[in-house]
C-alpha cells in the first residue's frame, strides 16, 4: 500500500517538471513584455523593473532561478498586483475556493448518490424516471445558465437567498448548488448504473438470505461495489469543480482564486496566470492520486503494483 502511494507520487514528479518548464517558457516567451501595456515608462524605470524581476538575466539563468524558487514553493511576484506575490494571493483566495468546492462536492455526492440509489432500488418506476429525467436536465444545463436562473428565482423573485457575496451561511447555498448540480447529475447516473449492476449480483441475495436489514444490505454490501464507478468519476469531478469555480465565483462575486485567475488572464498578469494554473495542476494531480488510493481501498481485487 505504501509502495503504491510512493509509486504514484514519484510518477507525478516528471509531470510536474514538464508543466513547470512549460510554465516558465510561456511566461518568458510571451509576445511583448509584461509591462508593455504600462506605456510611457521612462527607460531607466523600465530597467529597474526588469532588474527587480530578473528579466535582464540570460534565459538559462532565469530558468534555474525559477525552478529553484518553485522547489521552495515560491511562485514569484505578481506582475500586476504591486508588492504581492502569487503565493500571497493564492494563500488568501484559495481557502475560499476550497470551501466552495467542498460544499459543491458534498452537494453533488449527497444528492447524486441519494437519487441514484433510490432510482436503482425502484427501476422503471416514477421515482426512477423523475430522478433520471432531472439528471439528464442537470447534465445539459451549464453552471453559467443554472446560476443566473437560480439567482433570478430564489433571490430576485422569491427573495429567500442573497444574490451574491460570501459572508454568511446563506451565501454558500446557491453557489454550491450551481457548482455541484451537474456533478450531482453525473453521480446520480453513475450510481444508478453501478447499483443496478451490483443489486442483481448473487451476493446481494446471500446478504438478504442472512436476514440482514435492507439498510445493511444496501450500505454494507451494495455500496462498496456499486459506488466504484462514482469513485472513479471523483477525479474528473474535482477537476471540473475547480474549473467551474471560475464562472461561479464570477456570477456570485466570491473572492476566490478562480476570480483572481480570470482577472489575471484578462489583465495579462503572466506570473499570476501561470502560477495559478500550475497550482491548480498540482492540486488536481494530487486529488487524482487520492482518488486512486480510495479506489484501491474499496476494491480488494486491485493489486497495488
Amino acid at each position: 500500500m505504501l509502495k503504491f502511494v510512493l509509486k504514484r507520487l514519484i510518477g507525478a514528479i516528471p509531470v510536474l517538471w514538464i508543466i513547470a518548464t512549460l510554465t516558465f517558457f510561456m511566461i518568458r516567451l510571451a509576445p511583448g513584455g509584461p509591462f508593455d501595456q504600462d506605456k510611457n515608462l521612462p527607460p531607466d524605470i523600465m530597467k529597474n523593473i526588469e532588474a527587480k524581476y530578473h528579466l535582464d538575466e540570460p534565459l538559462p539563468q532565469q530558468y534555474t532561478r525559477y525552478m529553484k524558487s518553485l522547489l521552495r514553493l515560491d511562485l514569484g511576484p505578481s506582475f500586476k498586483y504591486a508588492n504581492r506575490t502569487v503565493n500571497d494571493i493564492i494563500a488568501a483566495a484559495f481557502p475560499v475556493s476550497a470551501e466552495l468546492a467542498l460544499w459543491a462536492l458534498m452537494f453533488a455526492l449527497l444528492v447524486g448518490v441519494g437519487a441514484g440509489t433510490v432510482a436503482s432500488l425502484h427501476p422503471g418506476t416514477w421515482k426512477d424516471h423523475s430522478a433520471m429525467g432531472l439528471a439528464m436536465a442537470g447534465v445539459c444545463t451549464p453552471n453559467f445558465v443554472l446560476g443566473p436562473v437560480l439567482v433570478l428565482v430564489f433571490s430576485l423573485w422569491l427573495g429567500w437567498l442573497p444574490v451574491a457575496g460570501w459572508y454568511g451561511a446563506a451565501d454558500r447555498i446557491l453557489p454550491a448548488i450551481t457548482l455541484g448540480a451537474i456533478y450531482a447529475a453525473y453521480v446520480a447516473r453513475l450510481t444508478r448504473g453501478g447499483m443496478l449492476e451490483i443489486l442483481r449480483q448473487d451476493f446481494i441475495r446471500t446478504a438478504r438470505a442472512k436476514g440482514l436489514p435492507e439498510s445493511q444490505v444496501i450500505i454494507r454490501h451494495a455500496f462498496r461495489g456499486g459506488l466504484l464507478p462514482t469513485v472513479t468519476f471523483l477525479g474528473p469531478a474535482i477537476a471540473g469543480i475547480v474549473t467551474g469555480s471560475l464562472v461561479v465565483e464570477l456570477i456570485f462575486d466570491i473572492p476566490g482564486l478562480g476570480r483572481f485567475f480570470v482577472q489575471s488572464a484578462l489583465n495579462r498578469d503572466y506570473t499570476m496566470v501561470m502560477g495559478t494554473a500550475l497550482f491548480y495542476a498540482v492540486l488536481i494531480i494530487f486529488m487524482n492520486i487520492l482518488v486512486d488510493i480510495a479506489y484501491a481501498c474499496l476494491d480488494p481485487r486491485v493489486r497495488y503494483d
Partner: protein, 338 residues
C-alpha cells in the same frame, strides 16, 4: 407437529406475456432432523418454492399465496422485519454459485460475523471466535488467517464451505441447500455433500436439498419430491422411488442416470460420486422435448407432450395427486399406472 408445514404454495409471476405459474399448489411437510430432497429440471420451480418461503423472490412481480407454517407460525403472513429475523437464524440458505454468492468487497470474517451480530446482538469478539470455530468445523485450515482474507483468495470448494459455515452459524432449524454442489468439481461435490450430511446429524437440523440430479438427492434424503412445471408429480422414499417410479417423469429421470441403482444405500453413496455430472449431461438427451413454457402451459397434464405413456385423457384433464396403491405415504400425479 411438523417443523415446517407448507400448504398449497403458489408463486405466480404477473408479466406482460401472461401469468407465469412458477410454483402452483405445492404442499409438503418437514420434521425436525429430516432431510427432504427436491428434484426437477431447471425451471421446475424447486428453488422458487423454497426461496419464496423466505421472501427472497422479488415481489412484485411475484405473488405468493398459500401457507407455510414454521413451528406453527405462517411465514407468508409475516411482515418484512419479522421475516428477516427468520432468515439466517431459523432458516438458512446455501446457494448454487459459491463463486458469486460471497461479497467480493468484504472480508470473509466480516461476512460471517454479521450473521451473529445481526441475529444475536453479541460482542464482536464473541462473534469472531464463533465464526472462526465454525470455519474450522467446515474444514477450512488456518481459520484465523482465512477470516481476514477476501473471497477471491478462496477456491470454489472453499467458498462453498464458507457459505455452509455462514448458513450454520446461527444454528438454524432448517437448512435449504439449493444445488449446493452443481458448480463444483466432481471430487469436491462428494466432500461438500458429506460435510452437509455430517453437520446435519451433528446439529440435528432439518435440510431441504434441492438438485436436478436424482443421485445427489437420493443419497441423503429420507423423502424425495419430484417437481415438474411448478407442481409435485411424485413423492416417496428414495428406495421406493428407485424400485418402482410411479410417474413417467420420475422414470425418465431415473433412466437418464448412468447406472441404475437397486436402492442399496452403500451402492448409492458410491454411485453418487460420479452421477451428478454425468447424469446432468445425459439427462437432457434422455428425456425427449423441453420443459413447457411456464407462461403457456398445455391443457391437461403438463408432461403430456413429452410423455411416452400419454393417453387421450392426459391432454384434457390435469391429474390429481393420488396415493400409490401399494405403499402408504407415497403419492403421484398421473392418470396412467405404469
Amino acid at each position: 407437529m411438523a417443523l415446517l408445514e407448507v400448504e398449497d404454495l403458489k408463486v405466480h409471476f404477473h408479466t406482460r406475456h401472461g401469468v407465469v405459474k412458477a410454483v402452483d399448489g405445492v404442499s409438503f411437510s418437514l420434521n425436525q432432523g429430516d432431510v427432504l430432497g427436491i428434484v426437477g429440471e431447471s425451471g421446475s420451480g424447486k428453488s422458487v418454492a423454497c426461496l419464496s418461503l423466505l421472501g427472497l423472490v422479488p415481489s412484485p412481480p411475484a405473488r405468493v399465496a398459500g401457507r407455510a407454517l414454521l413451528n406453527g407460525q405462517d411465514l407468508l403472513g409475516l411482515d418484512g422485519d419479522r421475516l428477516r429475523q427468520i432468515r439466517g437464524r431459523k432458516i438458512s440458505v446455501i446457494f448454487q454459485e459459491p463463486m458469486t454468492s460471497l461479497n467480493p468487497y468484504l472480508k470473509i470474517g466480516a461476512q460471517l460475523m454479521e450473521v451473529l451480530t445481526t441475529h444475536e446482538r453479541i460482542p464482536a469478539a464473541d462473534a469472531r471466535s464463533r465464526s472462526e470455530a465454525m470455519l474450522g468445523r467446515v474444514g477450512i485450515p488456518d481459520p484465523g488467517i482465512r477470516m481476514d482474507q477476501y473471497p477471491h483468495q478462496f477456491s470454489g470448494g472453499m467458498r462453498q464451505r464458507v457459505m455452509i459455515a455462514m448458513a450454520l452459524l446461527a444454528k438454524p432449524d432448517v437448512l435449504v441447500a439449493d444445488e449446493p454442489t452443481t458448480a463444483l468439481d466432481v471430487t469436491i461435490q462428494a466432500q461438500i455433500l458429506e460435510l452437509i450430511r455430517d453437520l446435519q446429524r451433528e446439529l440435528g437440523m432439518a435440510v431441504i436439498l434441492i438438485s436436478h440430479a436424482m443421485g445427489v438427492v437420493a443419497e441423503m434424503s429420507a423423502q424425495i419430491l419430484v417437481m415438474y412445471a411448478g407442481r409435485i408429480v411424485e413423492r416417496g422414499a428414495p428406495a421406493d422411488l428407485f424400485r418402482k417410479p410411479l410417474h413417467p417423469y420420475t422414470r425418465a429421470l431415473m433412466d437418464s442416470m448412468p447406472a441404475p441403482t437397486d436402492g442399496g444405500s452403500a451402492a448409492e453413496r458410491q454411485g453418487c460420486r460420479e452421477r451428478p455430472v454425468a447424469g446432468r449431461r445425459k439427462r437432457l438427451a434422455a428425456i425427449p422435448g423441453t420443459p413447457p413454457d411456464p407462461a403457456n402451459l398445455p391443457a391437461g397434464c403438463p408432461f403430456a407432450p413429452r410423455c411416452p405413456y400419454v393417453l387421450d385423457i392426459c391432454r384434457k384433464t390435469d391429474p390429481e395427486e393420488r396415493p400409490a396403491p401399494e405403499n402408504s405415504g407415497r403419492t403421484f400425479r398421473c392418470h396412467v399406472d405404469i
